[in-house]
Subunit: 432 residues, 2 copies
Amino acid sequence: MLDLATRAHNHSYRIDPVLRSLLDTDFYKFLMLQFIWLHYREVPVTFSLINRTANVRLADMIPEADLRAQLDHARTLRFTKSELIWLAGNTFYGQSGMFRPDFLAWLASYQLPSYQLAVKDGQYELTFSGPWAEVTLWEIPAVAIVNTLRNRQGLYRLSRFELDVLYSQAKTNLWRNLLQLREAGLSGLADFGTRRRHDYLYHEWAVLATRDVLGTAFSGTSNVLLAMRHDIEAIGTNGHELPMVVATLARTPEDLRASQYEVLARWQETYGGHLLISLPDTYGTTQFLTGAPDWVADWTGLRIDSKEPVAGGEEAITWWSMRGRDPRSKLILFSDGLDTTTMIALHHHFRGRVRTGFGWGTLLTNDFRGCHPRGADDLDPISLICKVTEANGRPAVKLSDNDAKPTGPPDEIERYRAVFGRSGVTHRPVLV
Amino acid sequence: MLDLATRAHNHSYRIDPVLRSLLDTDFYKFLMLQFIWLHYREVPVTFSLINRTANVRLADMIPEADLRAQLDHARTLRFTKSELIWLAGNTFYGQSGMFRPDFLAWLASYQLPSYQLAVKDGQYELTFSGPWAEVTLWEIPAVAIVNTLRNRQGLYRLSRFELDVLYSQAKTNLWRNLLQLREAGLSGLADFGTRRRHDYLYHEWAVLATRDVLGTAFSGTSNVLLAMRHDIEAIGTNGHELPMVVATLARTPEDLRASQYEVLARWQETYGGHLLISLPDTYGTTQFLTGAPDWVADWTGLRIDSKEPVAGGEEAITWWSMRGRDPRSKLILFSDGLDTTTMIALHHHFRGRVRTGFGWGTLLTNDFRGCHPRGADDLDPISLICKVTEANGRPAVKLSDNDAKPTGPPDEIERYRAVFGRSGVTHRPVLV
């Protein structure tokens, strides 16, 4: 017996929106947005979608009309009253009033700005240009929408029975990984998997399963909507776009080197003693630490996002010790392509020497490797990012600690390398 | 093909909770609770469930174990962080900061207190005793739980096909009624149907359908959870329990007569110029208006809850005019067993002479009359209430404008009648 209304609805819906709330994004985007809104609101920027898994030809797989329908739908969303009330009233990192009333008033009329979409060589060229404060919130929805639409194409090819098997396997794997993490006594694990997730519903399942298994060892989620819906701590601080855009304002090599610390000084001024986790790898961690003013060593910790994590952690510990700080009071947050084995190894390696945290992304919310019932790779995660590529009319550049991960035009990458050097930079393959 | 996990879950759940959030109650309970918490926190009271539809033998229909399991589950609930943030941050009647931080801090550790349950003559004797500020929130969940459990017994006897027909008919009827209301140009309609609803999901459907059809003519919902979840205005002010409990503190006939105005004076002092809708029928509307101090006529309006509504409205208009106030600036809120025909008649009768509002309850959220596929009356609404029956060690009494609706022991009703008189009191059958 069928529920006729449900069946008719399921078979005739115009669109199944990937994005249903503007809170369905990473928390650090809001912290950065308020910072940008205060200090750099009108700086013109361009964000671009970049598919680092070039052999997956996204434009051949996802119909352009589907992509446009989803992007257009996202632009119809507004922050709801309840969402703004929650942003105003919730505490973040134990701190109330994190967002200023004038900023929240601005958010109340916010909508995602327009986009430019073209196709080239089987890939989508999707870009967002405009004032930084308007454009920046596109990053996560853009990546999540394209990832989800690609996954849906893979799902369309499966029968109901195969779908059942697929999800059963993915859930079984995740559950087993979570039990291993609990067994190892790992703590400080947070969900960082919004942008690369399989889709929203699987993301939600993964986060609730993690909370269920890890209990207090689960420190929270970067996803603001899930944080609100399930009373979970919202986690995040800042990302590469801040030093990348501020760097484009520099006119001399000295200014360029100094810009990576200027942005931290201003961050500290904006958020006081909270949220002091630096992200030192934008132009190379080694040069960043060597040249850092002494107050940077007073920050709570740092995030290791592109360096081999044991080496990165050791380097940070040595640096804090040399600067006369006790590493045991510091926090290292690992966030680069983590899997269970790596996290457990890092946990054992650094135990008792430094506090560790783990921002688990793709392989928490989209680990379908080996789950496809016919062995296809349709649903394996790909390395899709949306980054600032231009600011103030100049190309934006990220070098990172991994030669496989820089973004920017080759001549600009060379110019930045000449200023920042190659100290500590290696080459590691990018999985996700 | 079946989703095995869903099927196994559906067929083996231990409990399907009727109450899933402490916000799933009427908004006026929170306004009253804060008032009680400020002024009468420790006053000992007893609330009792009363089934005025005596021929429906609830204890013969609902297994006691089921009822206890639901009541026990309700006692495990706490206000979530997101719910408290919303109460703190939302505006009510355009007013921010309606709830004091110290009151919200108290709510954070609140749980529904214990209950006493016995069976007598085929009816449940369900009572709640303790400090007023703790007991009062049981009113709505107690009624909603018993009503929902009774309805489930009715639903258990239907096949899947019959269930489909049942809901199709109920929705069709509601939709037609809503179109009639829109056609008549009626406005100011609010949902007051939480306690008597069919169940939560049908309630939600009814509220969203009403918003869909009536648009801005729908003024809001008394249900706090629905208000939060769907960004709807929360509606409500105060109820009979305030004058009923305060009356038990009176020692002389003069004090007793005065107590009905004392409670209003204190309300006005607590909430300032907002929420000034009086409920004059507790001890009879006519005596209330005749004896009212002049400042009562300055209030925004009044609610007519037991008098024949045209007569009640006319009486109010005459009273405002006699007191030198312009009735066209006043609001009359009708809330007693309304149906579509009555609301449209009242709308036409009073148009241009006074502002009207309609608190639509049972017949919005539980009108299954004539929908049962085998013509049974299992799912017709019954007149179930949960009222304060004792306070300060003395019986609590409500007289109302309808001789069919008083509550209290006969000798006490007589004592109150002697003080307040019978002016304007009639006898009308109680439908819902």
